[in-house]
């Protein structure tokens, strides 16, 4: 894990510097500056040091919780991230909750009622949302629920109500895929031998499906959901833009556009850390769900 993070740190640091633009130009917004000012900035941002020295300074700072200073904002990167991370994490968490709350029942119903009219209708519903870009759903949601029905604010952040529309827009795309996987996975489980046993033991169908089959069927669903959740942190930029929420994705994009290396590096590393944390959590969840995993571990 440490090796992975180190390798990614090297990769991130050196690839962002492949860009042809001049960091001083990014700091001064392309304004003409005197030689003295230029020199002062070069020293302030350690640009007079070699790349490998700059790398060491960055790495050392990171271990001490100092992510450097943003070129575009001229304030501490950790402060910028702190201000924005809650919006994005909140969005991802709510979107995942909504996605789970919808996709698992849909998947179960489809599996139990396999090939019925309801199953087919849900399939079409899922297909439509899998094919619709989040951006489009976001705009449609804003139009219907904010502008026409006035149920939610159209822009901004801060309260739970602000999160509902953007998180729902993000969730729908995820619901579609998760529901399909839950369905397939449930169908496999429903056909397995232990379901026959359960039936023979006289277990109610609901109990057999919801307790026994569902638990086994969840493993692939959780795998996909964890990947989707990681992707959402970046994918959130679309709804963040549409709903003017200014989260982490928005900061990353604006930093890439203005060659704000320290911010790009910090967010990328943060994403890597979150991805790794998520996969660790998934491993733990596997163990919770499946005793076999626990015993081998």
């Amino acid at each position: 894990m440490i090796a992975t993070i180190a390798a990614i740190a090297v990769l991130v640091f050196f690839t962002v510097r492949l860009s042809p633009s001049d960091p001083i130009a990014s700091i001064t917004k392309g304004k003409t500056v005197s030689a003295d000012t230029r020199q002062a900035l070069i020293e302030q941002f350690h640009l007079d040091k070699s790349l490998s020295e700059q790398f060491i300074i960055w790495l050392n700072g990171m271990f001490h919780g100092d992510l450097g200073e943003s070129y575009q904002y001229r304030q501490s990167v950790s402060f910028l991230i702190k201000q924005r991370v809650s919006t994005t994490l909140g969005l991802a968490a709510l979107a995942t909750s909504i996605a789970f709350a919808l996709s698992i029942p849909i998947g179960i119903i489809s599996a139990v009622m396999q090939d019925s009219f309801i199953d087919k209708a849900l399939s079409v519903f899922a297909l439509v949302f899998v094919a619709s870009p989040t951006y489009l759903i976001a705009i449609a949601f804003m139009y219907i629920f904010a502008l026409k029905l006035k149920m939610f604010p159209s822009i901004g952040t801060g309260t739970f109500r602000h999160l509902v529309l953007p998180a729902s827009a993000m969730a729908l795309n995820m619901v579609a895929l998760s529901a399909r996987i839950t369905r397939q996975s449930m169908i496999d489980e429903l056909q397995s031998a232990y379901m026959l046993t359960a039936n023979a033991k006289g277990l109610s169908k609901a109990r057999a499906v919801l307790v026994h089959a569902l638990r086994n069927a969840l493993i692939p669903v959780i795998t996909i959901a964890s990947l989707q959740m990681g992707g959402m942190l970046i994918g959130a930029v679309l709804v963040e833009t549409v709903f003017a929420m200014g989260g982490l994705g928005d900061l990353l994009i604006s930093s890439i556009r203005s060659s704000d290396y320290p911010v790009v590096q910090a967010i990328t590393m943060l994403m890597v850390a979150i991805f790794m944390l998520l996969s660790l959590l998934v491993d733990i969840l596997y163990a919770v769900i499946d005793p076999r995993v626990r015993n081998t571990a």
Partner: protein, 533 residues
């Protein structure tokens, strides 16, 4: 066991959800009167030394004030200075008001004034406005309430600079104490304006909240609204929807591509004014044949700018002349300038003439050029029209669309080719003068060696005339020199004007009192806003 899984899931999600409530919303107390203003990008810093763009300025202008300001008729007027004078355009003497108070209640002192202006000269501040003080030799207190600024070389336009954010005053003690934290979200700033900033009010990328300054020194000018909330809305359609939906009351930058619909919406009042800007095509003089005036004129005759203005630009601007500024920029003798314009050369749409000029320049068989632009929708449509029109005179245009920041780097000469020269044939870009004076367009665009001189153009006679007009003390004499300079420009046409942009503000019908002038960049003051009856 069977309940453990849902619980574990719920716990993780609850943890993440809890994090989103960490940023608490400003409490919506119905007694607090809030004016919400939609801006199109985040501000750069809470520091007048960094206020040099269309979003940072409207925020900073509510918090800090300048020695001078532009009145609603765009006349330079006293503000924190009670008067100013100069005999030779070298030594500028300001009488400073003794009754000004900062938002924390402390009186403004001479040391605050001298300190604030000197910040632009400090390399460690790295002021974005340092260029405005390039000729400043010294800034000194010369009397109890008198400040003298000495220039190294005459500059007839210098006082204008102090009407903008360059002349804004911040509190020295606060600034020194905050150190490198000054101007950040946590650090903030203290000024003398009708609104004040409290630490944490700037949620980067999202909003800036200002509160009314209860210690404001100029009672007659106090704001009506208790709170100004600037909301960053980057997406164009969202910005317009937010106004239509009542989520914001004002948009400072209504998107050009959606103007028509906004004019049609009866719940919105559109305020518009001419600007000091131009959108231009710069011929890169570092590359052949773009240094050849015959080619400039051929292309000028090959493009139907009048039709482009009426069918594409529409409300976003007005049709060009051969002058690199609209007459709103003329600081004095407007009638004389109108007459000058009437006699200036006209390069109207004439494909036959264009072909003649091209063959005279040695390109009878045609020419292939690249035209660089940014992602702006309107400019892209214009480029397509130009591509089609120039094709008819045998000029093949390749449109090279680059991202906004990359485009800016090209425009200001930060991206150069391996020979250290500007790396485009023709660049479509924009420029906006900082103050109502022709010189604020002439100097940056036409003086040799300036970073904003996207044409990489330099003409010794013109350079000398630009310097000479800065020395002229008599305005009429100065106009004579300016006209000689523009004679050269209209003959060589290193830039073609595409259109003169119109500035607009979109205001909800629920709000009144906000005015707009060509100089709104420097002086829109939201303290004048009131709810409409």
């Amino acid at each position: 066991m069977k309940k453990r899984l849902p619980r574990a899931l719920a716990a993780i999600l609850a943890l993440m959800l809890a994090s989103c409530t960490a940023t608490s919303a400003p409490t919506q107390d119905s007694d607090i009167k809030t004016l919400r203003i939609g801006i199109d990008s985040d501000i750069l810093k809470l520091d007048p030394a960094y206020a040099y763009d269309f979003t940072t300025n409207p925020v900073i202008n509510q918090i800090t004030q300048g020695l001078l300001f532009f009145d609603p008729n765009n006349q330079l007027s006293p503000h924190l200075a009670s008067s100013w004078s100069t005999q030779d355009n070298i030594e500028f003497i300001f009488q400073i008001r003794d009754d000004v108070v900062f938002s924390d209640g402390a009186p403004m002192q001479m040391e605050d004034v001298a300190y604030s202006l000197n910040r632009h000269l400090d390399p460690n501040v790295a002021s974005l406005l340092a260029g405005n003080f390039a000729r400043v030799e010294s800034i000194e207190q010369t009397g109890e309430w008198e400040l003298t600024i000495r220039l190294s070389d005459a500059d007839a336009t210098f006082a204008n600079v102090l009407g903008g954010t360059t002349g804004h005053i911040v509190q020295k003690a606060f600034c020194e104490e905050a150190g490198s934290n000054f101007g950040s979200s946590a650090g903030g700033l203290i000024g003398t304006g009708p609104y004040k900033y409290s630490s944490g009010g700037w949620l980067t990328g999202t909003s800036v909240v200002l509160e009314r300054n209860e210690n404001y020194w100029n009672e007659a000018d106090a704001g009506y609204y208790d709170v100004l909330e600037f909301l960053v809305i980057k997406e164009e359609a969202t910005r317009v929807n937010a106004l239509a939906n009542g989520d914001v009351d004002v948009l400072t930058m209504p998107p050009a591509s959606l103007l028509e619909g906004m004019y049609a919406d009866s719940s919105i009042t559109m305020l518009e004014s001419p600007s000091y800007g131009l959108v231009f095509m710069a011929f890169n003089h570092a590359k052949e044949p773009f240094d050849n005036p015959l080619v400039h004129k051929a292309i000028a005759h090959g493009i139907d700018f009048a039709t482009i203005a009426s069918t594409l630009v529409k409300r976003a601007g007005s049709a060009p002349t051969s002058l690199p500024f609209s007459l709103d920029m003329a600081a004095s003798e407007p009638a004389r300038w109108a007459e000058y314009l009437a006699n200036a050369p006209v390069y109207s749409y004439n494909p036959e003439k264009a072909k003649e000029l091209l063959s005279e320049a040695g390109y009878e068989s045609g020419l292939e050029i690249s035209l660089m632009t940014n992602e702006d929708g309107l400019r892209n449509s214009i480029c397509l029209a130009i591509q089609e029109q120039l094709d008819a005179i045998g000029v093949k245009v390749n449109i090279n669309r680059v991202s906004g920041d990359e485009h800016t780097s090209y425009q200001f000469g930060e991206i150069l080719d391996s020979d250290g020269l500007r790396a485009y044939d023709i660049l479509m870009a924009g420029w906006s003068g900082d103050y109502p004076d022709i010189s604020s367009t002439l100097q940056p665009l036409y003086l040799g060696g300036q970073t904003a001189n996207a044409a990489a153009y330099s003409n010794a006679a013109l350079n000398e005339l630009i310097e000479e007009q800065l020395r002229a003390v008599d305005p009429s004499q100065r106009n004579t020199v300016l006209m000689q300079a523009i004679d050269i420009i209209t003959e060589e046409m290193p830039y073609l004007v595409v259109f003169y942009p119109t500035r607009s503000y979109a205001v909800s019908n629920k709000v009144t009192g906000i005015g707009t002038t060509a100089n709104w960049f420097a002086n829109v003051h939201f303290q004048d806003a009131r709810p409409a009856k």
